[in-house]
Every structure is written in C-alpha cells, then in structure tokens.
Symmetry: C2
Subunit: 216 residues, 2 copies
C-alpha cells in the first residue's frame, strides 16, 4: 500500500510538472491529456486515476503560479510596520508594480490563471480559494493603515476591487491592443492611479459607507 | 459590375449577421467558417472572397459591439457642459457604471471583443483603431475639466489607463471567480474607486508630471 501511494504521488508530481511546462510555454490552448501522459510516461487513463479531472491538474499548476506571485509580491515588503499612511500608500504602489513585473515576466502562465474556466459548472475547490485569499491579504495589509475604521469584510472586498483595477491596467497594458504603452510608461500610469486612489481614500471611505447605509 | 458589387455587399452583411449571432450567443470559441457559410447560404470559399480573412469578419462584429458600447456610454451624457469638477467627476462615475451595465447585459459579445487576437501577427486595421479612439474620447472629456493643464497626449494615455482600471473591476467582478460580488455591490465598489481617483486627481497629476520629468 505504501509503495502504491508513493507511486501515485510521484506520478502526480510528474504530471503537474509536464502540465506546468506546457502552460508556461504555450498557455492552456496547447494542453492535451495525451501529450501530458506521454511526457510523464503513463497511460492517458492514469491521469484520471491521479486527478479527479483535467481541471484539477490545471488548478495544481495555477496553484504554483499563485505561490510564485505571492512570493513576488511579498519580496519587496517593508521589514517593519507602516509608520504612516504615506508608508502604506507606498506599499500599495509597490504591490501594484510588483504585480506588473510578475505579469510582464511570466505573461503566458499568468494569463492562463485568468483564462481557465472550470468545465461543467464545477466549483473552484476550497484549497484554491484559500490560496487566493492569502494573496489578497497582501493588499489588505496597507488598507488597514490607510482606512483603519473600515470593517474587515468591507476591507476584504475593497482589496479585491483594487486588485481588479490594477489587474485591468496590467492586462490591457501588456496586451498592446486597446492600450499600447511601453513598460516604463505603464509603470508610471499604474503607480499614478494607485497613488491617486490612496490619496482619494477619504472619498472612497465615504462612498463605501453611504452605499452600505443605502443597502441596509 | 454594379450587380456583382451589390451581391458582394449583401453577402458581406449576411456573413457579419451570422457571425454576430454566433458570437453574441457563444463567443468566439463556437465560430466556424463552415457554419457561417451555411447560415449565410454561400460556399466556405466565398467568405474569403468577401473578407480578407476570418479576423476581418470578427472585427466587423467587434465594430458593431464597439458601436453599441459607444452608444450606451453616450446615452446618459450630461446635455450641457460641465459646470464644475464635481460635474466632471460625476460623469466619470456615470461612464464607469454604464460600462458595467453594458458588460453585464452583453457579457458574451463583450468578452469576445477582448478575447479576440489577430492571427499570424497581423496588425489591427486603422479603421478599428480609430473606432476605439472614439470610445476613449468619451473618457477624455471629463478629464479636460478634472485636469485642465494636462497635455492632450498625456490625457489620451490617462483615459486608456482609467478605462483599463474600470475594465478590470468589471471583468473580474462579472467573472465571479477571484472577486465574487453581487451586481449592486460591484456598482458601489466601482463608483467608489472611480470617485477616489477623481478626488485624488492632484496626486495623479503630480505623479504623471514627475514621471515625465524623469523620462526626459
């Protein structure tokens, strides 16, 4: 039994490695169970013994991408608590710029993270959702200092909104389709927008409070 | 000759209609030249007499989507010049909310607009780029009042950046994947963020000016 479960774990890693190489090089479009099986040295059917479905395998690669992203965002973090709202605003800008660098450097696998849709109306598994939460927690940290009276739920939602805004600027900016910018210009546009949001935080706070009042 | 060119124009319209129905219902994934030809009552080869390539046909549908979006953004426009920066900020928020409503209502064809990539490294044709410019001009209008001393090139770039930020909030918000929000909450998050950017506009102006200085 022990040896079989070892074998299972080894195969699992080998299949994730193979899928990761394919996704990092060509995105989701080139992913075929047949090719993965060949690369991992197993039968196609074996994939479905080791993973519930191909979506699970893709999420395992997505999880590695999220971990890389999490580490990249964490890397430039201030080694001490924020001394002021200015510090916190700087850190929000730093996070946005780190996100841009990550996306510019790992464009194909980063796009795959957002392009992947679960088949057959399957829900995202909880472990994957938890890993996303961990990522957003990095954005929540400066918000605690910038908007100290915001309750935790509203802060969680706001962190996602700011992430989405940054993601939009990065995604369309790197696309060079609607918004064609060189990387240095993209950096300064991104920094300026995030800085403006941080400086307009009282307005943000006021708006969120009044929308909560009106929905109660 | 006249009759042949009439026939050409009729076929062109019929093929765009067929592609529009398919894209509006199922997005780009379901688009097959064979099906379009059958629906338009012509041979598959005829598509390539009438259009340079399938990309051109897809862009013609994209152009209709852009025109619908342009009209939707224009619809709620203030019938008079802005009386104050407050007016202009309100209009920026209105544009963002109109964008959200459009995307929520026409999700499939709206997504197709962003998912489409030209094949074989083809450039986007100028007529399509011009139509995008027209759309961004709606975002530039309030910026003239909000940041009157920004030069036109910087304003054009900033309009695209703000569009991208709004797009990111809308796209990830409607996805219900990373950011799961109900539509009313998404509305208030979007409005709050845009309002914060408008209220932080001096910071934005300052950042853009200093990044221009450092790149000279």
């Amino acid at each position: 039994m022990a040896r079989q479960s070892d074998h299972h774990a080894v195969l699992r890693e080998r299949l994730i490695d193979a899928a990761e190489r394919t996704i990092a090089a060509n995105g989701l479009a080139g992913l075929r169970a047949r090719d993965l099986a060949r690369e991992a040295g197993c039968a196609v059917g074996t994939i479905y013994n080791v993973f519930e479905h191909l979506d699970e395998l893709i999420l395992c690669v997505g999880s590695r991408t999220l971990a890389m992203l999490d580490a990249a965002l964490e890397a430039g973090r201030l080694g001490r608590p924020y001394g002021s709202t200015e510090d916190a605003a700087d850190d929000l800008v730093r996070l946005a710029l780190a996100y841009l660098e990550f996306a510019a450097r790992h464009t194909v696998r980063w796009r795959a993270l957002f392009e992947h849709r679960m088949s057959e109306e399957r829900q995202l598994p909880q472990w994957f959702v938890d890993q996303q939460h961990q990522l957003f927690a990095q954005v929540e940290r400066p918000l605690v200092t910038l908007l100290p009276d915001l309750d935790p739920d509203a802060r969680r939602i706001l962190a996602r909104t700011l992430f989405s805004a940054v993601h939009g600027i990065v995604a369309l900016g790197l696309e060079e389709k609607l918004v064609s910018l060189l990387l240095p210009d993209l950096r300064s546009q991104l920094a300026a927008t995030v800085r403006a949001i941080a400086s307009g935080r009282h307005q943000l706070r006021h708006q969120i409070a009044s929308s909560l009042r009106s929905s109660q």
